[in-house]
């Protein structure tokens, strides 16, 4: 995007010119009140200049022509803005004290080819300013006269505009009601407005985007302090929609926006977490591994059996949310219904998330710095039996209970251990491995942002650094991000801009992987030693079946290397040109490049048995290579996007607002990877590929995909009262066979703003009332590539003798006829804002039907045990309602805000052509949610041998205390045919609410999230007793069946391995209710009074304390209900509680 070399030379000249120009305008007169801060300011200025140069280099285009005649046609503008306009048209340059001109706001100025004198006289008319022309420099100064205003029959009113937290609001509009006299507030929130003397009894109207309009009667006071209250409905808010923006009041589709103010300063480590709290959006945060904490996002339920992730676009281009620095985000819009999303056609069926990164604004140069420090710790750990003696006895008891002939730990061993613990803790340790491996991980984040600009050129640069140590030993991550945004108005017609988002992550994890470390930590018992007294890693002398080879977790966490370096960069440039007839042409090109390099070194580490000193190598499971060796993997993806739009917007007869959009887009996706592996290293220290000498392995591949799209929108409203809109997209995708590649996705919507009707205009308590309805079709193409053709996979190699022979085989059966999955969505909604905007309300009902749903069909294995084809097999409904409610009130000095939303989505398979699809514990069948659990029903616990004898046959090992199952098909035998549908892990109900308070400069914000009617299957670690050497939760000590405790909740204690086909066969006994309510975020903030901090040269100084995941209410006690509900084990990387404190300052 940078200019070529000759261009650069021109650029540099312009840079010099521009800087000179800029400095003329910079305010040198302001006295620096506190010398102490001089140095800091100077440093900032140096930074400002650096940024400036950077910015200009990127946006270096200029086409200025000077004439001494000036034309101005402005509706509302600041005086300084108008002066700049004059500078643009002439070669005059103004010199003035910025503070004297700040806040002066002029309405409705019209000049045509006027002389400079005429211009200035008009501009300064009624202002206590006079000018003097020195050549082409004009000096503006305030009148000396103290009573100048009264002489002119006016008086000056000063004031300050503050938000609900007493922070200054810059750019608020202050208007003398019923006149064209206006002013706007400066960066310190201050304003000056001149009031004609006859206007006593009049009032000021203060308006600010996102805040409620406030009317202040003009009294005697010369200084006004005006606090604005946030407007929940934010009807004037402009929201980002597909390929454009729209006024929220005029929306006809279901669109949610993220209230970023609520998220400010929260220790959000991944942008996906910011979607928590958006109505209709379900965000699941399954684990807190640094660098790998992307949340699962579902918009309005689960519509497909394939990829359910919404389409994420950053500044209009597909980009992983994972790689956006949360503090760079300016807005997030979620397009939920067909009307709003159809313009993204075939990828929009799961909803669309539009992220815009921050850009600069005209006005004074600003620097914002924020940080937070804190720590993270595991949120949920099970209450396991940890005492070594108790563990051994319990496990023995479990084996006796299940009828084993032998037990694992002999009585001699237990007694030896009990005695040894007192005398020789090196050989007989009592370790708490949870305390060893799970700890507090420090987190720190620093962000600095420079922004500013003029009417013609705005810019923003932000840098962010995040450093996280994990709550699990051996995990950490650093993230560096840069966001640069510049936009230039080159001429009245041409606007260009560019955005650069760069993200670099450096992630370390255990060499054998997190899953392996977690498993081995749970398998390590108190008797598993850490180190020998001489510091070498120790090995146990006790053998535990299921955990025969002790993989000392300290070795797994700390030895070797497993490092991932990820870079992702998005370069996005656009040009916008105003054509005649109110048509705007926009072209936008973007390159999105993501790369990562994984370095994995498996070392040779030995553990030494505590008694004999015998050495044993620690195997690193689940990783290549198996021996000491290195594997380096390099992957890269390059996506390019080019889209062009024509936009037409016209108001006819001041009533008919018509706009139209037409666009064309091409996208190309390619990715590939290669790896190299080597073994034969001399030690654990030196491990480049070159240093190895044995068994080299290489591999790699690449793929590509294409999309071509045409899209459009037609929008009409009558006096902003009746609103209608139509969208379409015609998408072509390379994922399908020729003939099935193209799909057409239209949508229609309409709205009616009842409050503009005469019958409601005078109803005081209704501020806004809108009805809307939409209908449309969306597509889903997100299946694997090349699923339309039978492929011969390579890699089925086989070594004949000394020679490896290349092997090929069909591994998947594919269906050439597959095509788009189509989602038809109907939506109706009501938006209301009532009682002086104190109460806001949105209700939506939607019906989302996905037809031709693409599903991987499982084939009977007799057909070559092939992976099944993806086929368009059926229809799934997601019907639901959403309710959003907001309320705010000011109780004297205490402000309170409550916003909540509830979403209820019912997922149901409507039509599968009579098929039933089974996969493991789940079933897809008509009339039930997708992937419902399909399990045998556990009806109780056997109390006696007679009961077993008189019950349907289970296995011949069934004993009293074992689970009793229901013989659903009545064949007197418990088998897989007795399974029944039992719950689903797709939540039906999600809800969330914010409860915020503010009092003087303090504010307390809380965010709660809850999920209802959702189930998950408990298995493996922590759920199944003694699963392959793990321990058992305390419940099994106190609440499992014994002849003395026949009413226990749990069956008799057995090991998982010993009764896998009895107690631990798949049954609904292990299905857990995963409903929860969680305090996700709690923040206490204090803003220092502006009067104090102004003395320090600051405009904002906030201190805050933050806690995430502080409380959870759930029936799941040992396990995090927010875990990955589809996971194969209860213990993946734990979710974390995070506590942070930090500051946020603006210069």
């Amino acid at each position: 995007m940078l200019a070529t070399l000759p261009g650069l030379v021109v650029c540099l000249t312009k840079v010099t010119q521009f800087i000179n120009h800029y400095y003329k305008n910079m305010n040198y007169n302001r006295k620096i009140k506190i010398r102490l801060f001089y140095g800091l300011k100077k440093a900032l200025r140096v930074m400002k200049i650096t940024i400036l140069i950077l910015m200009i280099a990127l946006s270096c285009v200029s086409a200025r022509s000077y004439s001494q005649l000036i034309t101005i046609k402005a509706d509302k503008n600041t005086l300084t803005g108008l002066l700049k306009n004059v500078e643009k048209q002439s070669n005059y340059r103004f010199v003035y004290d910025k503070s004297e001109l700040a806040g002066i706001y002029l309405a409705d100025i019209q000049l045509k080819e006027a002389s400079i004198d005429k211009t200035l006289n008009l501009l300064l008319q009624g202002l206590d300013l006079h000018y003097k022309i020195f050549g082409d420099v004009i000096v503006l100064r305030k009148e000396k006269s103290a009573n100048a205003a009264s002489q002119q029959n006016e008086h000056i009113l000063k004031g300050i505009i503050l938000d609900e937290k007493n922070l200054p609001l810059a750019g608020a509009n202050i208007n003398l009601k019923g006149t064209s006299i206006s002013a706007s507030s400066d960066t310190d929130g201050k304003f000056t407005i001149r009031i004609p003397n006859g206007a006593a009894g009049a009032s000021l109207l203060v308006t600010y985007v996102g805040y409620m309009v406030k009317e202040i009667p003009i009294g005697e006071a010369a200084d006004l302090k005006i606090n604005l209250t946030p407007d929940l409905a934010q009807l004037d808010q402009v929201v980002v929609i597909g390929y454009g923006t729209a006024k929220k009041a005029n929306l006809t589709g279901a669109v949610s926006t993220v209230d970023l103010r609520k998220q400010e300063n929260a220790p959000v480590t991944n942008a996906s977490q910011m979607l928590q709290g958006v109505e209709g959006v379900y965000v699941n945060q399954p684990g807190g591994q640094p660098g790998r904490d992307v949340a699962t996002v579902r918009v309005r339920g689960q519509g497909t059996l394939n990829n359910n992730n919404p389409l994420v676009l950053v500044n209009g281009v597909e980009f992983p949310m994972d790689n956006v620095n949360p503090s760079d985000i300016a807005s997030i819009t979620v397009l939920k219904d067909a009307a709003s999303a159809a313009i993204y056609g075939s990828r929009a069926a799961n909803g669309v998330i539009l992220i815009t990164t921050k850009s600069g604004a005209a006005g004074s140069f600003q620097v914002n710095y924020s940080n937070y420090f804190g720590f993270q710790e595991a949120n949920y750990l099970p209450d396991f039996v940890k005492d070594p003696i108790e563990f051994m006895r319990l496990r023995n008891q479990a084996q006796i209970n299940e009828g084993r002939a032998t037990v694992d730990y002999s009585e001699e061993l237990i007694q030896e251990y009990e005695a040894g613990m007192r005398t020789d803790p090196a050989v007989y340790p009592n370790n708490d491995w949870f305390k060893i491996i799970f700890g507090r991980g420090a987190v720190q984040n620093h962000g600095i942002q420079f922004s500013g600009g003029s009417e013609k050129l705005t810019h923003l640069l932000s840098l962010n650094y995040l450093n996280q140590k994990g709550a699990v030993m051996g995990t950490d991550a650093k993230r560096y991000s840069l966001n640069y945004n510049t936009q230039a108005q080159i001429s009245d017609r041409l606007k260009v801009g560019g955005v650069l988002n760069i993200n670099y992550k450096d992630i370390n994890g255990p060499t054998a992987g997190v899953a392996n470390l977690m498993e081995m930590t749970f398998k390590a018992q108190a008797f598993h030693p850490t180190y020998l007294p001489d510091g070498r890693y120790a090995n146990t002398f006790i053998r535990t079946p299921g955990h025969n080879i002790y993989r000392n977790p300290l070795v797994l966490a700390n030895e070797g290397e497993n490092n991932t370096k990820e870079q992702q960069g998005l370069v996005n440039i656009f040009a916008e040109y105003e054509l005649p007839f109110h048509i705007t042409y926009k072209i936008n090109g973007a390159v999105n490049k993501g790369d990562d390099q994984v370095t994995k070194f498996v070392p040779d580490i030995y553990v030494y048995q505590v008694k004999t000193g015998e050495a044993q190598r620690v195997p690193y499971d689940g990783g290549n290579p198996a021996n000491r060796g290195l594997r380096k993997t390099s992957s890269g993806a390059l996506n390019t996007t080019l889209f062009q739009t024509l936009n037409w917007n016209q108001l006819f007869a001041e009533k008919h607002q018509v706009s139209a959009l037409l666009g064309y887009s091409r996208e190309h996706f390619s990715d590939g990877n290669f790896y190299a592996q080597n073994e034969g290293y001399l030690g654990n220290d030196l491990y480049e590929l070159n240093a190895g000498s044995a068994n080299p392995v290489v591999g790699g591949t690449s793929t590509a995909a294409k999309m071509i799209s045409y899209f459009g929108r037609l929008n009409y409203n009558y006096k902003e009262k009746y609103l209608v809109e139509a969208n379409f997209r015609y998408d072509g995708s390379s994922r399908f066979a020729k003939g099935n590649q193209w799909g057409f996705f239209p949508s229609f919507s309409a709205g009616w703003r009842l409050n503009t009707e005469p019958f409601l205009r005078d109803v005081n308590w209704v501020n806004e009332l809108k009805l809307r309805a939409s209908y449309g079709e969306l597509g889903n193409e997100r299946i694997d590539l090349f699923r339309y053709v039978n492929l011969i996979s390579l890699g089925a190699d086989y070594p004949f003798g000394s020679n490896v022979s290349s092997g090929a085989a069909v591994t998947n059966y594919n269906d050439p006829n597959i095509t788009w999955e189509t989602t038809t969505m109907a939506n109706i909604g009501i938006d209301a804002s009532l009682f002086n905007n104190k109460v806001s309300l949105t209700m939506e009902a939607f019906r989302k039907r996905t037809t031709d749903i693409l599903q991987a069909v499982i084939l009977p294995q007799q057909v070559g045990a092939l992976g099944g084809p993806i086929q368009n097999i059926g229809t799934v409904d997601n019907n639901g309602v959403e309710l959003v409610l907001g309320y705010q009130h000011q109780f004297g000095g205490l402000g309170m805000q409550l916003n909540g939303s509830v979403t209820y989505v019912k997922n149901k398979v409507v039509d599968l052509g009579g098929q039933v699809i089974y996969s493991g514990r789940k079933i897809i069948t008509e009339g039930y949610p997708i992937n419902s659990y399909y399990l045998i029903h556990a009806s109780g616990i056997f109390q006696s041998d007679e009961e077993i004898a008189n019950s349907p046959s289970q296995t011949n090992n069934t004993k009293p205390g074992y689970l009793k199952y229901q013989d659903a098909n009545g064949d007197n035998f418990i088998s897989e045919s007795d399974r029944q549908i039992a719950g689903s892990n797709i939540p039906k109900l999600t809800y969330q609410f914010n409860l915020n308070f503010n009092y003087r400069s303090f504010s307390l914000n809380s965010f709660f999230q809850g999920v209802g009617n959702v189930y998950t299957y408990a298995e493996n670690i922590g759920a199944m007793p003694f699963w392959f050497g793990t321990s058992v939760p305390q419940d099994w000590v106190t609440d499992s069946w014994t002849p003395e405790n026949p009413g226990a909740r749990l069956p008799i204690l057995t090991t998982f391995e010993g009764s896998e086909t009895e107690n631990f066969r798949s049954s609904d006994f292990w299905l857990r209710n995963a409903a929860y309510l969680r305090l996700k975020n709690l923040q206490l903030a204090y803003d220092f009074p502006t009067t104090w901090i102004n003395k320090l040269g600051l405009s904002k100084f906030r201190l805050f304390l933050n806690a995430q995941n502080l409380f959870t209410f759930s029936s799941m006690k040992d396990f995090d209900p927010e875990k990955n509900l589809d996971g194969s084990t209860f213990y993946e990387y734990p979710t974390v509680k995070t506590y942070t404190a930090g500051i946020n300052l603006t210069f």
């Binding site: 073994e679 011969i792 000394s802 090929a808 007799q862």
Partner: protein, 493 residues
Amino acid sequence: MVYILWIGCENDLTINPSDQYSEDTFWKNQDEAMSALTGCYRILQGGAGVNWFLETDMITPNGLAYNESNGTDAIARGVHNSLTGLITNRWEVAYRGIGRVNAFLDKIPVVDMDADLKARASGEAKFLRALYYFYLVDCFGGVPLILTAPDPATQSLLPRNSKEEVVEQVLRDLSEAAEALPKSYSAASDQGRATKGAALALSARVLLYNERWAEAAEQAQKVMDLDVYSLFGDYRGLFLLENEHNPEVIFNVEYQLPRFPHDFDHMIFQLNRPAPLKSLVDSYLMTDGESIDVSLSFNPARPYENRDPRLLQTVNCIGYMYNGQLTQPSQVVTTGFGLKKYTIYTDNEAKAIVSPNSSEINPILIRYAEVLLTYAEAQNESSGPDASVYEALNQIRQRPSVQMPVIKPDLNQDEMRIVIRNERRVELAFEGIYYSDIKRWHIAEEVNNGPVFNYKGEVASRRTFDKDRDYLWPIPADQIQLNPNLEQNPNWY
């Protein structure tokens, strides 16, 4: 402007995969066809061959599984169900192999390649298909007999064929394979391919398992007449890495580090899995040719002295040298016995412990001693204990490293049957044969029902075997769900 908007409108969306062939572009030349055949062999590593190999002996009184992997011990204890890992795995892997062979045999006629090679390759494929169907029949009885390239439309709902139909097809494939295959391969890079001997030996085994005695003996005789195979002198050495592809090997599964590893060393030595049971150890005769119950030379205080040398060449016993040290009880905790076959470790040399999944010795699926034993058993059953039966058995007993006394003369058919069965058990211990043997001899409900013992004679585990149910495994329930035409085996649900 319109021009700019629609620029580059060639709407070609076709992208072809860059690392895979499509079915239309494949099957053009010899290299492609041969790589498809390689894909058929690859299945041997995936479960049909190796995973089976050590597992099934742990369902017999030969061995005990120390942990629950694959559900092997659940089957041994009779508490398995149709979704037990070993059962579903056998069904899946065998059919995957069958599907690949069927695709190969469907396409090979049109491939432009050397005619001799085409015939041979077809023979190899048929051998593999026979092997995979044989594994299915042995476990499940009759199964759907599918002989054409995978096609969901026509094959998904096919019911089970009778066991006899499948066996007939197995024998037909093997006889065609035997016709087409060479006696041996000259190139080292062809080692591991199916041979005429392999096809004949497998058909001898299939006939034996189906009690078609005379035919079995006849097929075994053909292998013996090939004059390609002979017993390897050192019984322990037969299973060592350095002696791969020795003249006793008829068909094995090829492994090679680093890309094609298995886990035998780690599993057998470190995990003590499988752990031999006392019943197996007791079945080794004394060097005088008598059993320990009868022989006067048996000393219960030194029970492993004066035993058939194959005992200490197969089993690692406490107090004896192994891997350069005296074996301690803590090294063989499961039963007090460890297995030596198929590890790299030897008695007197101390070798470094092998990491998990770092072994490469080729498991032998068919070897010449089995052919001799098949001959002996089939001949004894069809015509009685004639001289050729003695000859076959004595060859095995007289192996240089074994040197057991020859079989007592003048045994009747029943006495000879006892000798042969014990010889089979001992010679082929932990080679994936004995589970089939106790089923086809209909003795499983006797020998695998009740307690099994460790070296001290203490109960190590308890077995159950339901004679009305457990001679066949259940068809995996998920397969019946997908294809309701599959009929479940008796007394399974």
